[in-house]
Structures are given as structure tokens and as C-alpha cells.
Amino acid sequence: MTTPRKLKPVDAVIIGFGWTGAILAKTLTDAGLHVVALERGPARDTAPDFEYPRIADELRHGIRGELWQPLASETVTVRHAVNDTAVPYRKYGSFVLGNGVGGAGVHWNGMLWRASPEDLRFRSHIQERYGKHFIPPEMTIQDYPVSFEELEPHFDHFEKVCGTSGSAGNLRGTLRLGGNPFEGPRSDEFPTPPLPAIHAAQLFEKASAQLGYRAFPLPAANSSAAFTNPYGVRLGPCNLCGYCERFGCFLYSKASPQTTILPVLAARPNLEVRTGAYVTRILQDSSKKRATGVLYVDANGQELEQPADLVVLSAFQMHNVRLLLLSGIGTPYDPSTGTGVVGKNYAYQMCGITTAFFSEDTHINPFIGAGAAGLRAIDDFNSDHYDHSKVGFIGGATIYAGATGGRPIEQMLLPPTSPRWGAAWKAAIRRHYRHSAPVTLQGTVMSYRDRYLSLDPTYKDKYGIPLLRITFDWHDNEYRMAAYTASKMEEIVRHMKPQTQATLLLKPGNHYDTRIYQSTHTTGGAIMGSNPASSVINRYSQSWDLPNLFIYGASAFPQNIGYNPTGLLAGLAYFSADKLKSSYLKSPGPLVSA
């Protein structure tokens, strides 16, 4: 390639214009900085990209993934163990990657959880409750260097930005009926009330109560009312159309950067968003103490250098880690010695599903659904909300009821005995479609010494740059977690009184299978911690190596939680943004001394 053209320096460059990119773009432009945001995908907005009825096209969006990153240009490779050879992830299955303005914040469901207070000091909490040796040596879980109390105002703010619907279970320390009794104290109610439970969730709520569990509305970034957020941006109300997950929202009610933050950035002269900009490297000065900008390839294939005083790395979790490795920032993690940090503690989630098949007089009508609104959940078996001393594992799962929609390709639930094609299949669909409901568990995955991210030695992207390699498989702890929480889930479903029920669950011997959707909640690789020997970033999301580099997203999670990650990663981003405003921008430098 020829020498890249050097562009005019700017105050800050943002890599990836999804949720955290938008949050930081707002913070930095509020402070008067001249900011350039680089987004690899196209510009996208509700109109015309998510307009009704074209957006409600499952084949185009849900299967072919028009809103997702094209894997033919860049993907990841996957292997199960350190000595295996990884192969590319060529077809979407296990997880889906966002692309374009809004990132994965366009196609998410809007399940907006906070972490539990104990999730943020998980290692200490487990050791305090169960003893020093309860955590197996190969499990490399860590504490966050920031507490729930410190993050709470930022969780609260983000929930308001999103017009989140829900019901507080713990308001300033007082437990309240109807909300999650296991959540940390909230400083305020949800900004909009929960939507009424859809029928499957009503049955779940009743069955849970019979068993002594406390079901509550799943916190939903699907606004339940016309609502004006703290930035003056108005959201529409959710009408349970069933097209959240894998789609953009045509009703302006699912929170996405487009519906919450970008409208106030649209006219800012100090923000320039460049789409089709594929960042290939973060540049450092010769002392390797300072980021000097980024190198990227624009939509015309031109290689450009964008110098900047501040670099914000806010791409998807995997892309953050890959870019650090490609840029030679920080020491790559080495599983043989357990040293190094970049790529360390890759984790995932383990999910399971029990489907209830009801008689024809129970009308589930699954086409009435939303990504999160109208669903009901229990948190009794997640995190360390229950005694783990005898169960043989650490962690747990949220369990929630109700389909996010009744789409014709992927959301046609059938008993395992039903034929998969032909007239008998059609008859079975007719029999069950309106009378079946899923209950799902979304479980934690701990981090382990032999599960990590690195650069692939063989496979490259379309520019000839190495792909990211995932080394991952399930551990016994997770199989046991899933078996235990699934037994609780199945018991609840039995109390929902279906005619039959069927459970899909990973069991010991089932390897990680990239063809089957699990969740898009991949975490770690650029984790947050209290010292540079065990982490990539400090509590303010600042790189230990380059103090003018800030890294956002689920790549910061030291292990995974049984919740969806967006609430936590947005809370961490706002916590950092606050510190940028109050300290860093006034006097740039390390915010935590190493």
C-alpha cells in the first residue's frame, strides 16, 4: 500500500459508532472537543432504514442479516482448545455482529439489566461467602475495580436516556412488590411503567408465585409510553409488534443510539461521522506511551491516517480486542503461562429453553411480543442470589418467559417429535403456533485460564489483516449451572400446565457449537481491573498502557453475568465519561496510578 494520507488532527477520534461511541461522542462534543467518529458500516436511521413494513422481513434481516457485519469481509475463527486449529465463522449462528451507525444497538432486544452488586466484586464475594478455596484454580474470575454504588447514578441515567419500562424492586433500599427483589438499590423508579404481561408471561408469573419465586417485568428499553429523555429526545411507545431482535424499530420505541442520543448530535458542527471507515490500527508514538491517532481504510479503499489527541475504542467486544492486538498495544495473553492481558478472560453465556405446548384453548398468540417489554422474569437463581455451597458450581441464570415475537422462520415452536417437513409439519405448525410459549434461561459463564482471544495465524480479512481467533469451549461449572437452573425452569413450566413440554439444554459432552444461536453476549479480552498485571483498562476504562486511549464495551467484563450486557457496559461508559469531564479533559494523564 502507498503511504496513507494524513488528515487534519482532531481532538478525539471514536472507533465504532454504536452505543458507547454515541455516549462518548455526546460527552466529548458537549465539552467542546472536535470529534471524528469512524464507523465501518453504513449510515443508518429509523427512516428510511427501519421503515414499516419493509423492516418486518425475517428472511432479509433475521436470517440473511442485512443489518449485520458481512462475514465475507471480516469474521472470527473459532477453536475449542489451545492445540486445535481454528476455522472461520462463515455463517451466522451462535452470535450476530452489528454493523453500521448504531451498531448492535440497532438489532438488540432491549433487555436492559443492571449487574447485581455482587457481580461487580464476584471473586471477593464468593471467597468471603464460601471460603478461599471455593473458586477452582483454573477459573480466573476477578472483581471489577468499581462498585455498584458508584455505577448506580449512571445506570439510572442510561435507563432514562432509553425511556426504559419496568418496575423498581428496590427503591433506595426499600423492597417493593412487583420489581426484582434481588437488584441493588435504585435511586429512582423506571422512567416508564412496565407494559402489561403478554399471555405466556402471565402464566409464568402465576406459576412462579405458586413456587414462591417473585416474577417481575423484565427491564425493557422498549418505552411503554411516549417519553422525552433527558436529552430532549422523544421516544414512541412499544406496540408489541414482535420485531425487536434482529431488526431496527420502526416505532421509535426501542432504544438505540438513533432514537435516544444521535438526534441531539445531528446538527453539531464539532462532530463528524465518517461511515465506511474500517480502522486497521491504533497508532502510538515511538515511546509507546501515547496514542497518536488511527489508521483506517475509507469506503473507496484509500488508506488514511487520522491523528487525534484522544482515542476512543468503542467497537464491538471482539473488534476492540482484535484492534489492540493488531496495534501492538499491551501484552497479548499467553494461556501457557497465564501472563499477559490482551485477549484474557474471554467468556460467553450458556442458555437453555423449555417450550410449553398448551391445549388449543390457551391462546398464547406469540406474534404479540417485544424484545423485552411484556416479558416477565425471575432472578432467584442468578448470580449469587442463592446458596451455592452445595450445588457444585458458581453463577446462575435469569429465567424469563415469553417469546420476543412469533416470526415465521425461527419462532415456530414445535415438539421434538413433530416432523420437520411436509403436510404433517404444516399440520403441527397449525396445531401449535398459537398455543406454545418458550421459557428461557440466560446463564453466566465464568472466565478460565484456557479460554481467550488471540490473532489467527492463518485466516485474514479482505485487506490481508489477521482475523481474531476465539479459543472457547464449555467447562463443567457451566454444564452444572445450566442443569440446576433448567431444573427450576422446568418446574415452573410444569406449573404453567401445558399439555407437554420440551427442554433444549447443553449437557456434558456437547461442545460449543457455532451453528446454534446462544447469545450475542460475548465478553472479556480487554478487561477492567485494579492493576496492569491483570487487566487492560482501569476503573475509568482508560488503557494502562496509553493514557489517552479509552476502551468501552463488554470487552471490559472480567467474566460474564447472567444478564444482558448493555446496561452494565453503558453504566461503565457513563462512569468514565463523567471522569473525563471532571478530570481528564482538564488535565490529561493516567487517572489511576499503576
Binding site: 427512516a47 411516549a226 422523544r234 409488534c241
Partner: protein
């Protein structure tokens, strides 16, 4: 014999024409323009001028995206060919840099610039009553605070002989109001009078909201002119609704507070702006002071003639009940459910300042169905303003609905939930579906 008559007649016509042209060049009654001393660089005056330029919405025609502010070039279609707005920056060659205050006043209020008559696309017909001190402020702003742009004016596309401007002089003499300084109509209190000054003057509301007659002049320029004043008019493919407070499809049910909110944000609990009013909100009325917006609202609310106030809209739940119980047998009901109800809801009430209510909406109920039909065909996007940064878009349905379906759903929304709109005709839909749209 016959040939001779023609010759005489032709000769007479040519002579008359020549005389008409000659007369149009002399004796133009442009006396009375502002001849006070050229204002200096007074910051307060310039600020006032900047604000007045927003109230007058000069940018709507004289600024186009991607080019220097006020450098002109906006293409405006007329039946005889396109004309282009002019450069009004202080550039001495291309703009108005050589204009004296009197020249500026002549253009603004008299419609005469550099010795020729302006096309009445320039609303001098409304600006005619601008107060002398406000003309001075505007002059100071354009002279001192606007950056000169060396962008030449573009000649019109109107072919000769229609491009001759002398008939415009006659049009002006016959139809334009005589320039005068604003005097409040009788019977208005101070705030209402302030509103009247904006509505009839710089705001040039009547240019869209008052119907025109055969020669394109407004049928009324003030409240004294009677019931045609601001009673709504078709403009392009929309019907600019009545701004009066009497009868179906008027602002009868809007409160003063709601009007203030609408002017400053482009929306209120009863509706969201559409069509060219969106540009007016974006470039002009969102900047109105609370006081100016309130006075405008108060003045407009004073326009209800007591004898024809008519009935207030009363919500009727029949249509909602039918849709709710799965009865879509009414003509257009199924089209409504399939295309509209997701946002406007089966009860027609929509969601405040997101998806406008159709029930009781004066635009939906208006005598002319043009706006409803055009919005269904073309869709609509709400304006982005400082106070309301979120933009909401209704998609276009022309690609998806036939003329008959548009007709049915337009009739459905105009007659459901208590709405009192009259029946739409199929040819109305055909007329409003532009050629480029699929049928």
C-alpha cells in the same frame, strides 16, 4: 378588407403594448420608502435584524443547503418556467452590497429592485407593512452581519416573451397593498396587535393560508377583508389549513398554549407539522420569543367569528369499538389496520408529539382532502428543532397502496372517531399522485 382590419388591429395592439411597457417604466408609485440615515454597526440593531430575518424566514428561499447563507439559487417552479431566488448577501456585485437603505426598503416592501419589479414569490405583498425601525434593523443585519458571497444570480428559465417583467408592475399596481407602516386593526389589544403585525407582515402567513384568486393575488390581506382571510388554501400538493377559529378543520379546538407550543416546536398534543410548514418551523418560528409566539397565538385565536364558530369536535368511540372487536367491515378499515393503526392506533388518538392523533385533527377534517391524501402518498417527516431534536417519519405509501385504497383509507380517517371530513373523490387521489409515483 379583412386583411386590412387585422393589420389595423395588430398595429393598435402593438401601440397599446408599447404604451403599457413605457408606462410601467415611469411613474412607479414607490415614494415613501425609508430614507432615514444609513444605520451604523449597532450590535443591538444587528441582533434585532437577525431575529427579524428569522421571523421573515428569509433563509427559506434565499439560503440553500451546502451554499453560503443568503446566496440564493433556490429553484421555484412557476407555470411558465422556473425562477431562482437571488443573492441577498452584501456582495457588491452579486448581492445587495450597493443597496442603500431606501433601495433595500423598496425591494422588501415595494417589490422593486434595481429598477424592475420582483416576482411576487418575494412576499413583499406581506412585508409591505414592516415598521421603519424594523426595516433599518434588517438592513443593518444584512449589511454588517451576513458574509458576502460571490455567487452570481441565476436568470430565470422563463422563455421570452414571458420573461419580460413589465406586466409584473401592473400586477403590483393592481394587487399589492400599498406599502405603509403597520397600524393595528381596530379592536385589538396590545398583544393581539403585536400578533397581527407578525401574521400579516414578516410572518407572511397569508401567502400560504389565504386563498388566491385568478390573478394569483391574495383574496384577503387582513382581518378586515372578511372570511377569506387565513381560511386555508391549497398550496402545491397540500392544503394549508385554516388558521381561523371557526368551523370544521379550523383551529377552533386549539388553545393559545397549544398554538405557542406548535410554533416553537412544530408539534403539540394535537398534531405535528408537515409539508412546507416544517421549513417554516425549522428556519423561523422555533426562534420566536415566547412573547412573539404568544401574541401570534392570541391574535389567531381572535379570528373566530362568533356566528360561525360551529361545534367542537366530539370523540365518537364507534369506529374504535369496531376495530377493537375485529370488525373491519367498514370501507377502508382493513387498509387502516394494515398500514396505519400500528402508529395512529385503532382509536385514532396516536401518541402525543410522536404519531399525531387523527381523531379531531383539523388537517384530517379539513374541507380539502389534499393534505391527507398527499401525506398518505408521500409520507411526512417532522422537523428537527432545538426543543424537539427527535424526528419522526411516516413512510410513503404510494408504492404500496392503489388509488382506490388511498381513497378508502382517506375516507375512513376523515369520517371515523367523530371526524367530520367530507367524502374524497377518486380523481383527487389521481391528481395528487405525482407521475413518478407507482400506481
Amino acid at each position: 378588407m379583412k386583411g386590412k382590419t387585422i393589420l389595423v388591429l395588430t398595429g393598435g395592439a402593438i401601440a397599446a403594448l408599447a404604451a403599457a411597457i413605457a408606462v410601467s417604466y415611469v411613474g412607479d408609485g414607490a415614494a415613501g420608502e425609508n430614507v432615514s440615515p444609513t444605520p451604523g454597526r449597532n450590535a443591538e440593531l444587528i441582533d434585532r435584524g437577525a431575529y427579524l430575518a428569522k421571523l421573515g424566514d428569509c433563509a427559506a428561499c434565499h439560503s440553500i443547503p451546502g451554499r453560503p447563507a443568503f446566496s440564493g439559487g433556490l429553484k421555484m417552479g412557476t407555470p411558465i418556467g422556473a425562477i431562482y431566488s437571488t443573492n441577498i448577501t452584501p456582495d457588491p456585485t452579486n448581492g445587495i452590497g450597493r443597496f442603500t437603505l431606501a433601495d433595500f426598503d423598496r425591494a422588501l416592501r415595494y417589490g422593486v429592485a434595481e429598477g424592475h419589479s420582483l416576482y411576487p414569490a418575494m412576499p413583499f405583498t406581506s412585508y409591505y407593512n414592516t415598521k421603519p425601525e424594523d426595516v433599518r434593523a434588517l438592513y443593518a443585519y444584512f449589511r454588517y452581519a451576513v458574509a458576502p458571497a460571490e455567487i452570481p444570480n441565476r436568470a430565470s428559465d422563463i422563455p421570452f416573451p414571458l420573461s419580460m417583467r413589465w406586466p409584473l408592475t401592473y400586477w403590483r399596481w393592481l394587487f399589492a397593498s400599498k406599502p405603509t407602516s403597520f397600524t393595528a386593526p381596530a379592536g385589538l389589544d396590545g398583544l393581539q396587535a403585536q400578533g397581527a403585525y407578525f401574521v400579516d407582515g414578516l410572518g407572511h402567513c397569508g401567502e400560504c393560508h389565504t386563498p388566491r384568486n385568478l390573478f394569483m393575488q391574495l383574496k384577503a390581506v387582513g382581518r378586515a377583508d372578511g372570511s377569506q382571510y387565513l381560511r386555508g388554501a391549497v398550496i402545491e400538493s397540500y392544503f394549508a389549513p385554516s388558521l381561523r377559529s371557526s368551523g370544521v378543520g379550523s383551529l377552533r379546538d386549539w388553545s393559545e398554549e397549544e398554538l405557542v407550543e406548535f410554533l416553537r416546536t412544530g408539534a403539540n398534543s394535537r398534531g405535528i407539522t408537515f409539508g412546507s410548514m416544517s421549513d417554516v418551523i425549522i428556519h423561523s418560528t422555533q426562534y420566536m420569543t415566547e412573547d412573539d409566539a404568544r401574541s401570534t397565538a392570541r391574535y389567531l385565536k381572535s379570528l373566530g367569528s362568533p356566528e360561525q364558530v360551529g361545534q367542537s369536535f366530539v370523540y365518537d368511540a364507534t369506529s374504535h369499538r369496531a376495530l377493537k372487536t375485529g370488525d373491519a367491515s367498514a370501507e377502508g378499515a382493513m387498509v387502516y389496520l394494515d398500514n396505519c393503526a400500528a402508529c395512529h392506533r385503532p382509536d385514532g388518538r396516536g401518541y402525543e408529539r410522536v404519531f399525531p392523533a387523527l381523531a379531531g385533527n383539523p388537517v384530517v377534517e379539513a374541507g380539502s382532502p389534499d393534505s391527507v391524501i398527499s401525506i398518505i402518498l408521500q409520507g411526512s417527516t417532522s422537523p428537527r428543532t432545538a426543543a424537539a431534536p427527535a424526528q419522526f417519519t411516516m413512510p410513503a405509501f404510494a408504492w404500496r397502496l392503489s388509488d382506490v385504497e388511498v381513497l378508502q383509507v382517506a375516507n375512513f380517517v376523515r369520517s371515523s372517531w367523530g371526524n367530520r371530513g367530507t367524502q374524497v373523490k377518486l380523481q383527487d387521489v389521481g391528481r395528487l399522485r405525482p407521475g413518478f409515483m407507482p400506481r
